[in-house]
């Protein structure tokens, strides 16, 4: 079995990062890991910053939050949230997979877009980005963004889980919309390949 593995899904409330964390968690149990997933919340249910911390351990269970500087990977559903998360939690040699589409507050108070990506690059040379929101909108429902990004993260080979276990979990959890979401997973998987920065 692989080593202990810490990954964070960072986004905005309502983007579905908790679902992604559960899918990864269930697939990791099949792989023999102990799993503990925690959440950090910003202000409010929707629109605030949300992170799901996923801890996969071989022997003992630790607390649900990953200590600063201990994440092996960051999956960003929103670029500035990915930057905030990676800066605080990512290990020096960690990997970042992020959506490029920003959620900009009404007053347009948002950091310079190019600067975000430049800083992400400064944090890690292993940076992958795609416009996951556009892919999700093209598929037909913006709510599939989380699964697009899951597909992208999976395609980098960093997640210590099997594709069949992820797909099984998507079908179980998403019921009627699972077909659309499996499409999203495949699309994310395919799109990331040409997108290492």
């Amino acid at each position: 079995m692989k080593q202990d593995f810490n990954v964070i899904v960072a986004g905005i409330g309502g983007q579905g990062n908790i679902l992604v964390s559960r899918i990864i968690g269930e697939a990791a149990i099949e792989f023999g890991y102990h799993v503990l997933i925690g959440e950090t919340f910003g202000a409010g249910q929707r629109g605030g910053a949300v992170q799901s911390h996923i801890r996969l351990t071989k022997e003992k269970t630790y607390g649900p939050l990953i200590p600063e500087g201990f994440a092996d990977a960051v999956i960003g559903l929103e670029p500035f949230e990915a930057l905030k998360c990676a800066s605080k939690f990512l290990k020096p040699d960690g990997i970042i997979i992020t959506n490029e589409y920003p959620i900009i507050p009404s007053d347009k108070n948002y950091p310079d877009f190019e600067k975000i990506f430049q800083f992400l690059k400064n944090i890690s040379s292993k940076l992958y980005t795609i416009n996951g929101t556009k892919i999700a909108l093209d598929i037909g429902d913006v709510a599939t963004l989380n699964i697009v990004m899951l597909g992208a993260a999976y395609a980098t080979g960093v997640l210590p889980v099997k594709e069949e276990d992820i797909k099984k979990s998507i079908i179980e959890k998403l019921d009627k919309s699972s077909e659309l979401n499996l499409k999203a997973f495949e699309k994310g998987k395919k799109m990331i390949k040409e997108n290492k920065r």
Binding site: V35, G47, P64
Partner: protein, 637 residues
Amino acid sequence: MNIGVIKDNPGKKILLMGNEAVARGAIEGNCQFASSYPGTPSSEIMETIGQVAKDVGINAQWSTNEMVAIWAAAGATYCGVRSLCIAKHHGVAWMTDPLINFSHWQIGEGGLVLAIGDDPGGHSSSNEYDSRNLAMKVFEIPILEPANPQEAKDFTKEGFGLSEKLKTPIYIRLTTRVCHATGDVVLGDLPKEKRMPNFFPTTISLGMEMIEKYGWVNMAYLHERIHIKRLKEASEFSNDFPKNILKIDGDEELGVVASGVCRHYVEEALSQLDINAAFLQLGMSFPLPKKLVSKLLKSVKKILVFEETDPVIENELRSFAKNEAPDVEIFGKINGFVPVAGEYNVNIVKTSIAKLLNKKITQHFEKEDIASLISSYSGIRRIALCPGCPHRASGYIMKKAILSQGVEFFAGIGDIGCYGMMGLPPLGVFALTNCMGGSIGMANGIAKTGIKEPVIAYIGDSTFYHAGIPSLINATFNNTKFTTVILDNQGTAMTGFQPHPGSGYTAMGDKTKIVKIEDLVKACGVEYVEVLDPYQITKSIEVAKKALAYPRASVIIFRRMCSIEFLRQRRKEGKTLPKPFTVNPSICNGCQVCLDEFGCPAIIWDGKNRKAIIDEALCVGCGNCAQICEVHAIKVK
């Protein structure tokens, strides 16, 4: 729904959220009745039980409030069945009088477990008070503190047996980091047989016994037996509780004591620091396991305590150590050595231990330019009502109606729910909130002071059923003039849209009679009641004006389903979603009414072109902005 919770597959490892694990623990523990009022972080316990209740033989209910919930749960124990009552820490305050009496007078033959979600840091609460203070000092009942989903399940299951043995409610003290942690849980056996209910309370016979002996009920005796019997027995149990663990070699200078999720933080911090310290883990924190504590006190020179959020264990430990080992130095919240408030984490624990041992640690540092950029934009994700939220329209309507009265000031009072955000800019329709029901409650006094400004109380649908009704009757009873605005989004939205008495279905999904809010309001003696659709903005403003002008208590009910739930249901049913709206830039005059007065997060200001634009990834197609746009620049896409 997580069907894993009903799997009859002992030994199988599945992924459960802490709250789901409590539900599984209740099922394994042969619980037959469960009651709750929704409250984050513990809402999903009843959601889970409700969904599987019929499969596992539990009678489950969302109660109208926590006081009713505890009465119902304890009531079931008098019929000999095991019972679970669930609430967040605020809810425990509502249970206080019933629980003190259940504690002093004894529950029935069935075990009673309380699963309580405290919220250190107050992520989704109006304060972070530590409810263990009530459990320990006021109810005087044993407290178990699970650290993870596995223990949440196991402790809940064990709680029923312990409750029956000690004839007392058992307090399972959860925190947000346990309730909302999701982890692998090994399933246990499911019970084979349900108990037959049999109403047999001992209360009257106990009273008669005392009357024969003393001429009247001896309340001091009832209290005394808690101390000489229950807590003594509980103390013995605590010594042997398998999750009260002392790791000690005998040569350590430092001993660390921790409960709940802090146990994990200590474990991780100790392994990162690579130091040798004795470690007392408390799965059961009250009463303290005196034998283990004695052993620790005899061995170490210094003790450091980690618990959230009050020094409950630390206080007990200090008073115990005063006699047992006066030379041992104790460090914690009381001497200000560790943070006195808020959540803990690995970093806080690690830093505190290192400080005590004068040990240097390596910290993770963020790159300076990146950290500086992040900190200058740290406040951008401001708390806001969701796109399409009916409360935004209701707040806009009320503000327009109030300001049309020619007043500059008004006394607006809010309550507990998503609509708390109506008090924030740009709506800003109230300036005061307290706890569940506090809006109408405080309006009763504010309106009687003789102030000239209009007095308006805002309360949610579920909150009105929970705690609004007595205060509204009070207003009629005392001839008090103010306007109550009931924000009916047809469910208990903030906690995840659980049903309430106006929903027409129960926690178990059974159809039930709808108790209409407008009928209740009328029955409270209010003469002026109007039910409005907040999506009809212009019409509603006119009606709201009349309500404000009414000479006695008046009530407006804004009824429209939560936009999140509306979309969730559409998606679930495979129906199409409403189309997003868009701004026609050639018509938009840049007045910013949609931004400055309405404030939907889907509307963005394009400063370069001085136009509003709509983010189609956020817009849910409610069309309210099209109604308020003065130049009609907004149309469906």
